[in-house]
Amino acid sequence: MERWCAKRKQARGEVMPAAQCYELARRWYSGRLERDFERPTVREMEATFRAVGLTGEFWRLEG
């Protein structure tokens, strides 16, 4: 991770197990294929992060 970040002069972000990322992916993209899909609101996006245990400043979308 450090090597990847150093190569790109990129600060380390957040690391999570693949299983947690899968759960985020499942929830985040839910309904995307439906005809009447609406882009989630910021509140809904933040709720999705919280629902899979992603909290803290990194996951905050607005003040």
């Binding site: 972000g13 957040e14 899968y22 979308l61």
Partner: protein, 146 residues
């Protein structure tokens, strides 16, 4: 149903069916609207962050979690190979399709072979971790890097 919604739906329907992005001509035929109107709808969807267009064009680059161009994260599901934008999207595609799928790639950090397998709606156990380099509030500052 407004045209941009119909175009968005058709983009995803085509992506799911083929693994590739539709052209403006294909969209025009599918939704029964002139190409100029379809292009306007695509620009609106790009501005709304519902699609990502190749800059300066109306060609589709991404319809998250799908990519229209080859990536490091191919997702094989049956006879179709989809292209995911990142590891997160590689897991999203089987979840979205409700189909078993496999992604064979390499760890972007250490280059070790990496396999993500989804069966019956569950990710098979793996030691892999996913690094989110960019905080979500900055995803769209440079969506290609994200």
């Amino acid at each position: 149903m407004s045209l941009h919604r119909e175009v968005r739906f058709e983009v995803y329907r085509h992506m799911v069916a083929t693994g590739a992005a539709p052209t403006v001509e294909e969209l025009s035929d599918a939704v029964g609207a002139p190409e100029t109107d379809v292009e306007a709808a695509l620009r609106r969807l790009g501005a709304d962050r519902q699609l990502v267009l190749v800059p300066g064009t109306t060609k589709i680059w991404m319809a998250h979690p799908f990519s229209a161009v080859p990536t490091l994260f191919p997702v094989r599901a049956g006879d179709t190979t989809y292209r995911a934008n990142c590891a997160w999207d590689a897991m999203a595609i089987p979840a979205l399709l409700g189909r078993d799928a496999e992604t064979e790639t390499r760890c972007p950090d250490c280059s070790a072979p990496l396999r993500l397998v989804t069966r019956d709606g569950e990710l098979e156990p793996t030691d892999a971790v996913v690094h989110f380099a960019v905080p979500p509030r900055r995803f769209w500052v440079n969506i290609g890097f994200t």
